[in-house]
């Protein structure tokens, strides 16, 4: 049975991982775009990105666009794997609860 991962179970980090995993491998998303997509503040997003980066689930890259620094985030192979396991674990919980409900009936 797949285990729930505490690091990405936090709601903002879970949505962040879901968004980053939806992008092709090798591509990365802009910090400002992610902030607007998730509806969080700069500080909040920055803290969650750092946490995920420390865990090795995402990679942060700084690029200069029109001489301004921009941060891009992408999911690593480990991050994609952990996210898939998290989804599987959540689905198992739901299936397990549905099975237990049927047995009771």
């Amino acid at each position: 049975m797949a285990e729930l991962n505490e690091i990405i179970h936090q709601p903002v980090r879970l949505r962040l991982m879901a968004a980053l995993v939806a992008i092709r491998t090798g591509e990365s998303a802009d910090f400002t775009f992610l902030r607007d997509l998730l509806g969080v503040t700069d500080g909040n997003l920055g803290a969650h990105l750092r946490k995920l980066e420390e865990a090795g689930y995402i990679q942060l890259t700084k690029k200069f666009v029109n001489r301004k620094p921009r941060t891009y985030a992408s999911a690593t192979a480990t991050g994609r794997e952990v996210f898939r396991n998290q989804v599987a674990a959540l689905e198992e919980i739901i299936k397990g609860a549905a099975g237990a409900k049927r047995k009771k009936e």
């Binding site: 179970h9 949505r15 968004a19 995993v21 939806a22 090798g26 802009d30 609860a97």
Partner: protein, 189 residues
């Protein structure tokens, strides 16, 4: 770590919501829109080419010039908008590769001297499809299959329906490009 059934459902719902939001953002800022733009240009342009012998030259060449310029401007806008949101390590190289293919096409045409308008258009089409295939190998395999399918369809039209080749390019070439673009958009949305 244990959570309730409701918490698991809520977590999955938030995952799907974030995935959908990202897919919608990707679909409105990707190459799919460029395919739709160029498909429309092909449809109108090659339909005019098919009836070129019955139309004044200005009525065939004029729309091509206007639409190609418009298509190029829209393509640049779409690319710039996408680059603001997403970074692709191959993005600049793919743009340069397009220019390189066209340059090689011009040099190749200098040696081969294609004189028939059908041959010239087939050569341009093959170069664009070669670029799309290369892009597919780099970033998205679906583009490789789309490119190979279009190339096979265009070769069929060129060899089997020579008298209607431009109409074939307009309807099958342009239509398939628009259809593929729409499929990519819907697949993401």
């Amino acid at each position: 770590m244990n959570i309730s059934h409701n918490a698991a459902e809520s977590a999955l719902a938030s995952i799907h919501k974030a995935e959908n939001q990202m897919n919608r953002a990707l679909s409105t800022s990707g190459g799919a829109y460029q395919m739709i733009i160029w498909g429309a240009v092909m449809m109108v342009g090659y339909t005019l080419n098919q009836f070129a012998d019955r139309l004044p030259v200005a009525l065939v060449a004029g729309p091509w010039i206007v639409m190609s310029t418009f298509g190029n401007i829209l393509s640049v806008i779409v690319s710039v908008q996408r680059a603001r949101k997403f970074h692709n390590p191959y993005g600049a190289r793919l743009g340069l590769l397009y220019v390189v293919f066209i340059l090689f096409g011009v040099v190749g045409a200098f040696f081969v001297h294609p004189s028939d308008p059908r041959e010239i258009n087939m050569l341009v089409y093959l170069l664009v499809m070669l670029w799309m295939a290369s892009m597919g190998l780099w970033v998205d395999l679906r583009l490789l299959w789309i490119s190979l399918t279009f190339t096979a369809l265009m070769l069929f039209g060129f060899l089997v329906l020579p008298d209607y080749f431009f109409l074939w390019l307009a309807i099958v070439g342009g239509g398939a490009l628009i259809g593929s673009g729409l499929l990519l958009v819907r697949g993401r949305a």
